[in-house]
């Protein structure tokens, strides 16, 4: 009599405890997943801004360096590819292949932009153009922001991936299909790679 009841009660208690812990782990994973998805939204805002700036840049440059059509077209081409990749990644930041594609497209875009800037060195008039200077500064600022947001994104992806691989959360992750997330690599700006000496004045 009493002993059956006590056994049932203890069983109920254990089941409850396990259920609460499982629910806690599940919610924890959801939180981490939301966090990295939100972090991607932050990059996306700035990426879009960069895509918007590039046609302006090319338009301004056109007037000065008509002979460099190929370089400019390459930039526009790379920008369009990156924009499509960005759209795909934004639609599902949890898709590792989309994220990888975005990383690649962004690297290509940065390379093309770098070549354009290198060529532009030969056109002093263009370099002195106010409009060009303004766009360049905004581009730099946007690239800084992308780098920062990317760092935040990669941080939260790392936390999420660690969370889903650790025992015992990995069991829950497997049960409820929490797939691995991909880091966004190498969208660093040309400037970052050159690591220029900044003069602070």
């Amino acid at each position: 009599m009493g002993s059956t009841l006590i056994a049932v009660l203890v069983l109920v208690g254990l089941v409850v405890l396990v259920a609460i812990i499982v629910a806690g782990m599940y919610n924890g994973l959801v939180t981490l997943r939301n966090r990295y998805k939100n972090a991607f939204a932050q990059i996306d805002v700035q990426l879009k801004r960069r895509y918007d700036l590039i046609p302006n840049l090319v338009e301004t440059a056109k007037g000065y360096m008509a002979h460099e059509r190929g370089t400019m077209e390459a930039v526009i081409q790379a920008r369009n590819v990156a924009m499509a990749a960005g759209k795909a990644a934004a639609a599902n930041p949890g898709d590792p292949s989309a994220m990888k594609a975005l990383g690649g497209a962004e690297t290509a875009l940065t390379g093309a932009l770098g070549r354009l800037m290198a060529v532009a060195e030969a056109y002093p008039d263009l370099k002195a153009n106010q409009n060009m200077l303004a766009i360049q500064e905004e581009l730099t600022s946007t690239e800084n922001k992308i780098a920062f947001a990317r760092q935040a994104y990669n941080d939260s992806v790392t936390v999420y991936n660690t969370g889903r691989e650790k025992f015992p959360t990995n069991i829950i992750a497997g049960m409820f299909n929490f797939g691995p997330a991909e880091l966004l690599e190498s969208t660093e700006s040309a400037e970052e790679r050159k690591a220029p000496r900044v003069s602070f004045n």
Partner: protein
């Protein structure tokens, strides 16, 4: 009732809540115990069948009692604690769990823009950090809530229904009501209540599961199944009984706070019509303020309007006062006709509002007046908030909407004028944080240096939503960077020091969610910290030693109730470390002590019967450091 009394009241309520919770748990234990007794009586001993008279009812069966107590406390306690841990992730987390989508501050959507403007105005006006703003797209009802562990990690969420149905004035009324909750200290109280309700509800949830257990076909233990089924039924009944008790508590705590928040909203906007009309919209709208998200149930008390369909139990269990009564409170001419909007009356509802309003000219301010402005937002302040926001140059406005931009603007505020110090500060940024932040800071330095001083605190407030989006790793290195920026030169001004402390505290609160609310200080410790702070304030505001001593003594007098006792601590010259320690301990001191310090500091500042803009901003910065929302100085904004 002033801000300090409100805060104390909220704290006391939190204490009472714990008592109620314990009572509810005791009630549940007793109920489960009786159910367990009945169950064992009904089943009887297994095996041989006994005659009914052989089964005796025993009230006291210790082994059952202790098992029940253990299991109930384990279940309710762990569920409540898990919930509390989840809620401590902050306002943004809570808003997301209800399906909220964060509104970008760069949004071009006119409805979202309008909402952001309304929220920013009220936040800047009251001197609290701008909350993260969310829209609940799946909710057609007109509703809203504010949630958070502290104002630094607060989120304000508004339903899609409210966005669509309300005019700007009505939306402002709703948002002001939510800020009323923030300033009245209701948010943490509300979260504790949610955790408590979900702990109590856990038994109902278990009972529900137990009822759905199917016996396996080949199981021969029909008796065990019956026990589970009956136990489940009992738990379900008890769980709902517990939830019932929870609802009573929820309602009792909530209703008065709603009236209070309504009153605060009117004080902030001086427009009872806006709020009254928002309530009328709810009354005249088929969906009303109903929330569909299942998670909304345990948060019923946090919403602007009642979130569930008309309560089965009637008004006693309603979390919100009836709409008609709330409207009547705001618009006495209301006759029950919700289709006719109330008309805005310019000056209604602000009589007797304390604060800077109504003071003519700078010198009229006294310490007591300055302190009474804390947390006491008025219509003028909301206007001033909107004026201040519009004074911020578009470039800065644009930058602080991005995490890197916000960090750069704030670091640029701390740059020294001296080129060599500045060089060192820049190097500190690039080594401790990143080259990118250094470059961005450099890009913005000139713009930030040209800013009007009274814009600095509002800009810090406006930067917080973006800064909250940093990763925890970035937060750690950024707060280190901020600390070393202030220490790069030893001639840091008190205002710069305060600015750095404000950023430090707000980020700390937003990212680490400290649980310590109040740290009692010994009288000696309090006096020595207050004296250190007063010394710094007196020296910062006065050129000559004599004037500094006079100002210092004016402050000390306040601490001792208007007289200078013999052997009071004489004016010191506290270094950064000492000041840092003093600010840290005073910022978590009981409200009563913080109030006294603020009174002393204001008297110290105004002792020369003259308040400059710099002094007014200094007072504000100190109030911010102590976690007290002091609205902007109105005369300064007007001029």
């Amino acid at each position: 009732m002033d801000f300090f009394a409100q805060q104390d009241m909220a704290r006391k309520k939190s204490g009472r809540l714990v008592v109620l919770f314990i009572l509810a748990v005791v009630f549940i234990i007793l109920a489960v115990y009786v159910a367990a007794l009945a169950l064992s009586f009904f089943i009887g001993p297994p095996g041989d069948v006994k005659a009914p008279e052989q089964i005796v009812w025993q009230w006291w069966r210790p082994n059952i009692f202790f098992t029940v107590t253990f299991v109930v406390i384990l279940a309710v306690g762990s569920a409540a604690l898990m919930k509390l841990a989840a809620l401590r992730k902050g306002g943004a987390f809570i808003a997301q769990s209800l399906g909220g989508v964060e509104v970008s501050s760069t949004s071009r959507d006119p409805d979202e823009r309008r909402l952001m403007n309304v929220v920013e105005e009220v936040a800047i006006a009251s001197g609290v950090p701008v909350p993260s703003v969310f829209i609940l797209p799946g909710e057609a009802g007109i509703n809203a809530f504010a949630a958070g562990w502290s104002p630094s990690d607060a989120a304000v969420a508004v339903t899609a229904g409210a966005m669509k149905q309300l005019t700007r004035d009505e939306l402002q009324g709703v948002v002001a009501h939510e800020f009323g909750h923030v300033l009245n200290g209701d948010m943490r109280l509300n979260l504790k209540l949610v955790a408590m309700i979900s702990g109590i509800m856990v038994l109902a949830t278990i009972g529900y599961w137990a009822l759905h257990v199917r016996p396996s076909r080949n199981s021969k233990n029909g008796n065990g199944y019956a026990v589970i089924l009956l136990a489940g039924l009992a738990l379900l009944v008890i769980g709902y009984g517990g939830a019932f008790v929870g609802r009573i508590i929820q309602s009792a705590v909530s209703r008065q706070r709603e009236y209070l928040a309504d009153a605060s909203a009117v004080q902030f906007t001086r427009n009872p019509a806006g709020l009254a009309n928002a309530l009328k919209r709810i009354a005249g709208y088929p969906v009303g303020s109903v929330m569909r998200a299942p998670a909304a149930r345990e948060m019923r008390h946090m919403f602007f309007g009642a979130s569930d369909v008309v309560s089965f139990f009637g008004s006693m269990f309603a979390t919100h006062p009836p709409l008609n009564q709330r409207i009547k409170q705001l618009d006495p001419s209301f006759d029950g006709d919700v289709s006719r909007p109330s008309v805005a009356e310019g000056d209604a509802g602000t009589a007797g509002v304390a604060g800077f309003a109504g003071q003519s000219g700078y010198p009229a301010l006294t310490g007591a007046q300055a302190v009474s402005g804390i947390g006491a937002l008025t219509f003028e302040h909301v206007q001033a908030g909107s004026a201040l926001i519009s004074m911020i140059p578009p470039r800065i406005r644009d930058e602080i909407e991005d995490p890197l931009g916000a960090c750069a603007v704030v670091s640029a505020m701390m740059l020294d004028k001296d080129p060599s110090t500045r060089q060192r500060q820049m190097e500190a940024i690039s080594t401790q944080f990143s080259e990118a932040l250094a470059r961005q800071t450099n890009l913005l330095a000139a713009d930030v240096a040209g800013l009007d001083r009274q814009l600095l605190l509002p800009i810090v407030d406006l930067s917080l939503p973006a800064m909250r989006r940093m990763s925890p790793v970035q937060y750690v290195s950024y707060s280190k960077t901020v600390a070393s920026l202030a220490r790069a030169d030893n001639r840091v001004t008190l205002f710069e020091f305060c600015l750095q402390k404000v950023v430090e505290y707000r980020l700390f609160e937003a990212f680490e969610k400290p649980s310590v609310g109040v740290n009692a200080l010994s009288n000696r410790r309090f006096l020595s910290d207050a004296a250190a702070m007063l010394s710094a304030v007196a020296r910062a505001g006065n050129e000559t030693d004599d004037a500094a001593v006079a100002a210092y003594e004016a402050g000390i007098k306040v601490l001792f109730g208007g007289r200078l006792p013999s052997g009071f601590p004489s004016i010191g010259n506290p270094g950064l470390e000492r000041l840092d320690a003093a600010f840290n301990s005073l910022s978590t001191a009981p409200m009563r002590m913080r109030r006294q310090v603020m009174l002393a500091v204001s008297d110290c500042i105004v002792s020369d019967r003259h308040v400059t803009l710099a002094e007014a901003e200094m007072l504000r910065a100190i109030a911010y450091c102590l976690g007290l929302p002091l609205p902007p100085y109105l005369q300064a904004v007007a001029s």
